[in-house]
Symmetry: C2
Subunit: 339 residues, 2 copies
């Protein structure tokens, strides 16, 4: 994929195991070069990095593929890195599998590969194995990407959605709703007075700082599909506790609030791709919050509520006006193809 090929399209033959596929893979290698990937065997073989490992997978079907603040490539790296980080793991290795629609522009594929390379470098992970399939025109939507990831869980780290305990504090790492609004506005051709960019970012560095500050981080999750509402409901159910949050403490940028009001959306249900929710033992909440605020991806971190014993499995919001309402698990369609 050099300059001459910028008008070229992906052909079915690029996925057929033959010469064109090998040329395409060579160009991937050019972007992502490392010794494990270059061996080109059926699997990558590596020395086990530790005693406890984490393994996760995600397919990315975001539409459109390019949006303010990111693209499907950056998303595919950050999303899987973040799933590993949310288990307390240090992400190390990624797999990368493309499903490409016949006719997709090679120049766009090159752009996505560059984003993958940059995001992997930022996160400190290596792509060590991959796969490419090409399907007929009309049988996919341009490009789908799957990344799976392997990380190492350091000794003593025990993070799980089931570990929230009454008295624990609820912390979010920053302003909510930016990814969902950015993708939606790009897709629908909406123009807001202040444009909203996706927050897509790798959070493993931030999690490293938090775990360095305290071993008493009980739950971590990135509120992607279903937003903060889904994540807190998952914590409440898995841990069999209630969770109380306060609307006025939840950080949301003015531009996102304005867009949500215009579209009739609730920022608590909008997807994020560079934010996390942490449940932390009360005695360590302040030092964890301080560590987060020192990190570039945690500057707007805030304590937004607490875990309670009452109303097990439920999430309650105290509104700006002092009333209370239940924040339910999202039921319906929300925003499809956001990740």
């Amino acid at each position: 994929m050099n300059a001459e090929s910028d008008n070229e399209k992906v052909l079915l033959a690029h996925g057929s195991g033959g010469r064109l596929m090998h040329e395409l893979i060579e160009s991937f290698l050019g972007e992502l070069r490392n010794p494990l990937l270059e061996r080109m065997d059926d699997s990558a073989v590596f020395d086990s990095p530790g005693h406890r490992l984490a393994f996760t997978t995600d397919s990315y079907t975001v539409s459109p593929l390019f949006f303010p603040g990111g693209d499907i490539g950056r998303l595919a790296v950050c999303g899987t890195v973040n799933d590993l980080a949310m288990s307390g793991a240090r992400p190390l290795y990624l797999s990368l599998a493309f499903i490409i629609e016949e006719g997709f522009a090679l120049a766009d594929l090159k752009k996505v590969l560059r984003s993958i390379k940059e995001a992997a470098e930022e996160a400190g992970v290596k792509v060590i194995t991959g796969d490419t399939k090409v399907v007929n025109r009309g049988k996919a939507d341009g490009l789908f990407i799957n990344t799976s990831g392997i990380g190492i869980v350091p000794e003593g780290v025990e993070v799980s959605a089931s570990r929230a305990a009454p008295g624990d504090m609820v912390i979010v790492s920053g302003n909510l709703g930016e990814h969902g609004i950015a993708v939606l506005s790009q897709r629908e051709g909406l123009r807001f007075e202040i444009p909203v960019a996706s927050d897509t970012a790798p959070l493993n560095g931030l999690v490293g700082e938090m775990l360095g500050a305290s071993p008493n981080i009980h739950c971590l999750r990135d509120p992607t599909r279903g937003g903060l509402a889904a994540t807190l409901n998952e914590f409440a159910r898995s841990s069999r506790v209630g969770i109380r949050i306060e609307e006025e403490k939840i950080p949301v940028d003015g531009a996102v609030l304005a867009a949500c009001e215009m579209l009739g959306l609730d920022p608590l249900y909008i997807a994020n791709e560079g934010k996390l929710v942490a449940i932390v033992a009360p005695q360590d909440a302040a030092i964890v919050l301080a560590a987060m605020k020192r990190h570039r991806y945690g500057r707007n971190a805030a304590i937004i509520g607490e875990v309670v014993a009452a109303r097990s499995g439920e999430v309650m919001l105290k509104t700006r006006f002092g009333s209370s309402r239940i924040i339910d698990m999202p039921a319906g369609e929300l925003l499809p193809r956001i990740c």
Copy 2:
């Protein structure tokens, strides 16, 4: 997904992070239940099983989803298990990621899940982490599956496409071309006198027997896309050797030969999903072959040729008539969507 839901379809809301998605995931858990999967955290965390690990990924886009001898579910397990086995690894854990087209029948999803469960049991692997995305009608082709896999490489095992040496023998594990012909005939509605069923099968047991018989297995690969021709060309290039094979020694079933003749296809270029090609040191070729023939997936194994120093990077076929021709890397389209 109980009996009442057999007429139900997958909705966009099944992929939106909300209540319907959690119900769908619960039904997956019902089929694939194991303690690691049930934790439902962002990653599965497990104890490292050994010093050297293998990691691989594959997306499956086969069309049609159901074909004689298998379906996309069995294929998605066996394909990734085999990629691990071809690195000499014992496959242990799989991830499982679905991209589902809105409107896909839940009953078909249930069938695919059952196939996944059965194939995973046969191969002795566990699905420990997963993901589900739903895309709008017309933006995918029913169902795509990605599986990634982790295995352990036993001490002393050193298998790579770059290890073929002059004098080594070339062994195939059985009759070629069955998967490609089965899928093609189902897709095109072709009826042959003797129907051809896909060979889709997990080969880790067979590889275990082979490695038990000899440590001198230099290369292993399953000849999927591009068939035997692509695999041998990859070996010849990676190892910088020539490979000579003899047409009359290559096992091909009569029904496949007949179908290939009718369709103008060459069985050497047709995909297999339950066969392997091994390059073995000459002194151990006979005992490896004997071990293969004792295994259910190696009964028709045969030595088909040898590795030579001359004509580095090339594969030469001695035909039934005594003439020689070069077997090139497949260049063109072959049979798309075969895996």
